[in-house]
């Protein structure tokens, strides 16, 4: 695999990183580097010497992902419920905000949060989250909420109306019927969509580099600018980290889905 094709791949994955890629590319051309080899021992040694630095970035990635997915769930689930069962102004409002958030590039949302809104830092006692981290969580989390709301809108809507009617017929209020009958079934059906959303958010955390946060991908740029022959090795290393993160989480969600699967299927 040649250096340029690898870099083109990276560039295609995260459009926001074009600047950093260009820097690395220039360094490569200036250095007149030959096509990279996978087996360069010294380059691998360089990667492992800096593994701590990369794993530190991975922790930032995980932290941002968990916080954003959680915020996305807490906001997106009620939003999906309002879109499914609501009417009038609240429904239109939620729909409109969702359209705007889904229609705006994530890098624009992040830049808006950090540079325009100037989201402040928060002191949680054990740790202080900087304004940039808070902007990242808010930006990624609200955008995830906009997408998660559509997962839940679809799955809540897929629960047979007859079941809700049967719940109303024994005297439950609409809210009770939704809570005890629709929600438990909708959550089960949301697992596959949620797996996608998790994977997307995890990879999109890389874009917080635009507001100066050093997560996994940003730190890998630092490294291959420093040692231009190690680009492929660094990318393989961080890809492995991304793979482990997405694979284990997806397997865990698979397991969750199977554990809560309704015996015999979903027909009632």
């Amino acid at each position: 695999m040649s250096a340029t094709s690898t870099l083109a791949l990276v560039a295609a994955d995260s459009p926001a990183s074009v600047g950093a890629v260009a820097t690395a590319l220039t360094a490569l051309v200036d250095g007149g580097a030959a096509p990279l080899q996978i087996g360069e021992l010294e380059d691998w040694a360089f990667v492992f010497r800096n593994a701590d630095y990369l794993i530190g970035g991975a922790l930032m990635t995980v932290g941002l992902t968990v916080a954003s997915i959680l915020l996305g769930f807490l906001v997106g689930f009620p939003a999906g419920a309002v879109e499914t069962y609501g009417e009038g102004l609240p429904k239109r409002l939620v729909e409109s905000v969702g359209v705007v958030l889904r229609g705006t590039p994530i890098v624009v949302i992040l830049v808006f949060m950090y540079f325009v809104l100037g989201v402040p830092s928060i002191d949680l006692g054990v740790v202080t989250l900087s304004g940039a981290v808070m902007s990242g969580i808010l930006g990624l989390g609200l955008r995830s909420a906009a997408y998660q709301s559509q997962i839940f809108r679809a799955t809540l809507g897929s629960v047979d109306d007859g079941q809700l009617e049967a719940a109303r017929a024994v005297g439950m209020s609409q809210l009770e019927a939704i809570r005890h009958v629709a929600v438990p079934q909708a959550l089960r059906r949301s697992v596959p969509g949620f797996q996608n959303e998790f994977t997307i958010v995890l990879k999109d955390t890389s874009i917080v580099f635009a507001i100066g946060l050093a997560e996994l991908l940003t730190r890998s740029y630092d490294l291959f600018v420093e040692r231009t022959t190690a680009v492929l090795e660094v990318i393989i290393f961080i890809s492995a980290i991304y793979f482990v993160l997405t694979f284990t989480t997806n397997r865990a969600l698979d397991y969750l889905g199977e554990y809560y699967a309704i015996p015999g299927g979903e027909s009632a």
């Binding site: 007859g162 079941q163 009617e165 049967a166 005297g171 005890h180 015996p263 015999g264 979903e266």
Partner: protein, 271 residues
């Protein structure tokens, strides 16, 4: 049989007043008075009136689209009538300030498509209402659910999920779910129409038992032999209007209206 049958006076009254309910003094446990309903411009119920005594079984029959199910659903306010009034045990259920959730605790409903809660076992399907609506403790609700499942012959299926049950079993869970609320009145909306023919019998058997227990039942069905066997009154609806009503032997054997006779002929030719 029902209370009405064990009381000769009530029975005589029922016969005399079958076509003139307005004058009835005691047949007013459920009183449906001049109910009309429109979906947009289309009138689906037109001045429907009938009455039931406590323990009565009334069967609504009629061609599809005649408004039978809609009429049934007006009684527990799953559908709203635009005109007319319905009284249950002296309370006006159609009054605008009625708490519909409270009303529905007292009116059980069994659906054509069962509408069981797919994520819950048979026991939890039946216990959910007592738990969440009647605020019974987990143990009390489970005990009540057990008893009702036993009543419909499903004591050995309490842990089965709906998808693991046959149609007949599902419908019996549906009946147990409604009974667990200890309703004053049971509504049955074509309870056997979605069932394979060989499964209809087990559901009708349970319904026969309920009749024997004195349950007040308003039933929409095409099972004419069941209607003939248990109904105190048959109400024949067509195009949203009551064409004719009366005791089964009169309505089935000597219908007064030509429209009724034609409908019964068509049904009979399918048996």
């Amino acid at each position: 049989m029902s209370d009405a049958d064990s009381n000769p006076d009530a029975d005589a009254n029922a016969d005399a007043d079958a076509n003139d309910a307005a004058e009835s003094g005691d047949r007013d446990y459920l009183r449906v008075a001049d109910i009309s309903k429109w979906y947009g411009d289309e009138q689906v119920l037109d001045d429907v009136s009938f009455e039931m005594d406590r323990g009565d079984v009334t069967v609504l029959i009629g061609p599809s689209g005649s408004g039978k199910s809609t009429m049934l659903r007006c009684v527990n306010r799953l559908a709203e009538a635009q005109e007319g009034e319905i009284f249950l045990d002296g309370e006006e259920v159609t009054a605008p300030d009625v708490d519909v959730d409270e009303l529905r605790r007292e009116v059980g409903m069994v659906f054509q498509d069962f509408n069981l809660f797919a994520h819950l076992t048979a026991l939890d399907n039946v216990a959910l209402g007592p738990r969440r609506v009647l605020d019974l403790s987990e143990a009390e609700a489970d005990e009540r659910a057990h008893a009702q499942l036993e009543r419909v012959g499903l004591a050995d299926q309490t842990d089965s999920y709906p998808a693991e049950l046959s149609g007949g079993q599902k419908q019996r869970v549906g009946i147990a779910r409604a009974l667990a609320m200890e309703p004053k009145l049971m509504l049955f909306d074509e309870p056997t129409s979605a069932l394979d023919p060989e499964l209809i019998g087990e559901v009708l058997e349970v319904m026969h038992d309920l009749v024997a227990d004195g349950m007040t039942m308003l039933v929409v069905t095409h099972e004419m032999s069941f209607a003939r066997a248990v109904a105190d009154e048959i109400v024949f609806l067509d195009e949203g209007r009551v064409v004719e009503r009366g005791p089964p032997e009169q309505l089935f054997d000597n219908p007064e209206k030509e429209r009724t006779a034609r409908f019964l002929d068509r049904i009979a030719s399918h048996d």
